[in-house]
Symmetry: C2
Subunit: 429 residues, 2 copies
């Protein structure tokens, strides 16, 4: 963990390094992934079966290519009742937030008599990548699947690796709850390729979302334009802006809630109270020892954790904007004052009683958020990622008379006479 203070003469250089280091590891898998995608595009299901045998150690023809809807329902029915209630509360709140997010169609006629508008529609089919292993979270299933269904997606397809054929029961239960239509036992770059190009068994989709390893992320990047994709995601991050009135244990727990995700996760505290900074550092140590995820969390904190002591919180927004973090907690008396000056953040958690983890599960907003400083230009997952907009225009003779001549003049100036004629032939009497 790195301790910085804005009073230090070397602060600017050290902080710039923290900002610039926030890049993904440049695992160069582009060529491997290109070869896999080509293979899946050419050989379809045969390639999927071979790659699944190789990477996941099972025979799709024996284990079954799909997990059935009945199996998903059975997993849901078998949930511990408290957990089922929690999952249902999460689903209900996520659905409500995303329903309120649905964009409105427009249709109006302006002063020139031109009718203008836009219609939003869900895509026909969406594919969700659900990782196996450590990152197989039922909450991620809800956060990807529910916005798609709210957007009006008719066919919602999950691909997920099932090492040795074993599927994650919690994820299947969440798939049932979210209304997923198909679950395929394939993972990796080849599964992403199958979703984009389609195979004999798996019909192609229009949009692919969901987290994955470097191969999955690269496959999505390479297929951008063949399908729509959500933003490429990197390691998780939290920035906590907290004054000395907070309980150090609360702040420590919040920092560790990101650190336990992955050794590459990053937790940063900005405080105006040097004594509080030390109290949090101590609380992190005592909290760490209580966690079953101690190993991961400790590595993350030791390698990537940062505590910045500022002279006062006036300095905080500029630092936060440079970090453009995925999650920003503001635990001060007047969080609104700082929030108003934060331009770049995936999601902001206001006040002392809003730990970031409530946003991961039950608050309602999406937990798929821009990482690696991408909050400068991108947004969390939303219904818009599963929708597209068609604009429309309608003119009558009077409206074309009003605006048509300008179109003719511009088309001629651009050297496009057929554009000009398509208007002028209609203006001739």
């Amino acid at each position: 963990m790195q301790r910085l203070s804005t009073r230090d003469p070397g602060f600017e250089e050290a902080f710039a390094r923290v900002v610039d280091d926030r890049r993904e590891s440049a695992t160069d898998v582009a060529a491997d992934v290109a070869a896999i995608l080509k293979d899946v595009r050419t050989r379809g299901d045969a390639a999927l079966a071979e790659l699944t045998a190789k990477f996941d150690g099972h025979d799709l023809d024996a284990t079954g290519w799909q997990v059935s809807a009945q199996d998903c329902k059975a997993a849901f029915d078998a949930l511990d009742p408290d957990l089922r209630t929690a999952l249902e509360l999460a689903a209900e709140r996520i659905r409500a937030y995303h329903e309120a997010q649905l964009p409105e169609n427009r249709d109006y006629t302006d002063a020139a008599g031109v009718r203008l508008g836009a219609v939003w529609r869900g895509v026909d089919a969406a594919g969700l990548y659900v990782p196996g292993g450590r990152a197989a979270y039922p909450s991620s299933m809800l956060m990807n699947a529910i916005p798609a269904k709210v957007a009006g997606v008719e066919r919602l397809v999950v691909v997920t690796p099932t090492p040795k054929g074993e599927a994650n029961a919690l994820v299947l239960a969440a798939a049932h709850l979210a209304g997923v239509d198909e679950v395929w036992r394939v993972g990796g770059a080849h599964a992403v390729g199958a979703l984009a190009y389609g195979t004999a068994r798996i019909a192609p989709v229009d949009v692919i979302t969901g987290p994955g390893n470097a191969w999955v992320a690269e496959a999505k990047r390479q297929l951008y334009g063949v399908v729509g994709i959500d933003m490429v995601a990197g390691p998780s991050e939290i920035l906590v802006i907290a004054d000395g009135k907070n309980d150090p244990v609360h702040t420590a727990a919040d920092l560790l809630s990101q650190a336990e995700h992955d050794p590459t996760s990053q937790s940063i505290l900005i405080t105006d109270d040097a004594a509080f900074a030390e109290a949090v550092a101590e609380a992190v140590e005592s909290e760490l020892s209580k966690l079953s995820t101690e190993g991961t969390a400790r590595t993350s904190w030791n390698d990537n954790g940062v505590i910045v002591v500022v002279e006062n919180f006036d300095e905080a927004p500029a630092l936060a904007n440079r970090l453009a973090a995925e999650h920003v907690e503001i635990a001060t008396d007047d969080p609104e004052a700082i929030f108003a000056r934060i331009r770049h953040a995936g999601s902001v958690f206001l006040g002392r009683m809003t730990p970031e983890a409530v946003g991961d599960y039950v608050a309602g907003p999406n937990h798929v958020l821009p990482t690696g400083r991408r909050a400068r230009f991108s947004s969390g997952l939303s219904v818009l990622d599963f929708m597209k907009r068609t604009s429309f225009i309608q003119l009558n003779e009077a409206a074309l008379g009003a605006v048509g001549p300008a179109a003719v003049a511009l088309a001629e100036a651009e050297g496009l006479p057929a554009h000009a004629r398509s208007v002028s032939v209609r203006l001739e009497k």
Copy 2:
């Protein structure tokens, strides 16, 4: 030009080929572009100067790296008055449409006492690529720059190649009108790299939009995630759905308005009237001979043009949805009836007096639209491409008491104890 009829026994196969052929030429420039981007990232302005000397044949230090604001204003002031009025009308109408498109922020407290919301903000800086040569259109400058400015982008940067140092005066005039902040005389993949990574002279931007050749498109694709980009664009397309009551010359002019863009453009007519189909085919021939763009338009029409005769217009929406065309004109008595069944289209032009070209210039909606069947999942350029959304959450003690226990249960089920503790330590009394 290809003539199809849904009555033909071979129709399904032939139409499927039309749909599937709608792919971009797979010019493989990925490796070249990766090398150029690496060079610009490493050597910055020195690389830009060398590549500009090589591709555009001028010395940036001699011609000047930037076109000054005064030069853009001078180009605007020197416009023919009619053309200036036309450009101003276009700018005003584009601005009005995109202002109406601005998304609303949300801020509400739900029944559980949880405050939820989202704030939209413009990105800090955007870069627009403006091609040199054939595709240097002032209308494209307006269609990219005005949404960025409406979105609230503070710094709007244009890069454009100026072969032999010569800039396109119309484009500079449009840059002045649209309020562009910087115009750099650099083009190609290296210019895109400079916008994304920044150089000593050119500060980096957050979003890059605008059309370009295969190198430019590939550079944007490779930089997706480093910056935000608009959708990769392919050759322009129009689908005209027209009955026999239209003037064949009007329909022919509309088909040719796309054909004249590029030899790879595609124009398709769907009609329920075989005699009208022949009349349009004849009108295309006579119209072609009137065009200064005849060569391009004829190649496009001969190579890619299609006329489909349907039994009746009930068949049209399904065909249109498979094509998912950039532009769809519906010139029938009741265009609304067909429009209601079209799920996939970039922009729709309703009625007999709405030639697509009015949308290119003066109607108001954006003319940057999804091509190559991407209307299945993507939308035309809008203010949203230059904005990002930050969600926010605020709980008090009561709200955390209401929803917190569910978060604890889910975090524990996912094996994330620090997530659980960040909530439970706040619930303890």
